[in-house]
Symmetry: C2
Subunit: 139 residues, 2 copies
């Protein structure tokens, strides 16, 4: 067996692509519109990692999405956790769990999907503004 | 950046390992118990696909988990969708969306996480008992 993807539902395609691609760094692999089913599927992946995808399902008929506790989060390793968190914060994303330790951070997608960011390899040396930034909300 | 894992919370480790490993076919990669945090983390992966993991988080203090609509499902390709569904059904798992088309099925974990199974490559020739098995519940 092979892992293919994790699917999350998105209420706003534009806002979701801004979060997952422009700010987080995933790339769009393929897209499918179904007139009959009134949905759009968008498959994303980290650069060069096409076998592990994130599927965004957008139902054309509006629906507000909430989360449940059985799903936890999506986790990605990043090359520079401070740079990614700065880009996300500059883009208006709340850093719920700032990378105070230079190692781990948590943010949420526009539809409340929790995303864990982990520094690839060794933790970075802690530095401001992250060191003194409090956690906020839940993640 | 690299995809690391999708995390789901599990209320019963034994029941979850039976579902994800014994019946579905994932393998345990590593495990970590935290006395201080009162939790156990178990990392699973499809055989030979160690870079795309499923993290099971078990909090020692009992909690009942429900789902939300923002998370959709986990998807895995399988070599023989009929064989996997038969194993799951024999193990007491409800096949919510039977593989009538020889291509796609949906089941749920003990904590309600939806899992999509997709036949790897070409769909298998439809056959009973799957062809006439109705869908049940939601997935």
């Amino acid at each position: 067996m092979r892992y293919l993807h994790t699917m999350v539902r998105v209420s706003d395609v534009e806002a979701s692509l801004r979060f997952y691609c422009d700010l987080l760094g995933l790339e769009e692999i393929r897209r499918r519109d179904s007139e009959r089913g009134r949905f759009t599927l968008i498959f994303l992946a980290a650069p060069g990692q096409i076998d592990s995808q994130l599927e965004l399902t957008h139902n054309w008929d509006p629906e507000a999405y909430t989360g449940g506790r059985n799903f936890g989060h999506l986790a990605y390793a990043v090359d520079d956790i401070f740079a990614v968190c700065e880009r996300l914060r500059d883009g208006g994303v709340v850093i719920h769990r700032p990378p105070r330790d230079g190692r781990m951070a948590f943010v949420r997608s526009p539809d409340g999907i929790s995303v864990e960011l982990l520094q690839d390899g060794e933790a970075l040396a802690p530095r401001e503004p992250w060191t003194s930034m409090p956690s906020t909300g839940t993640w």
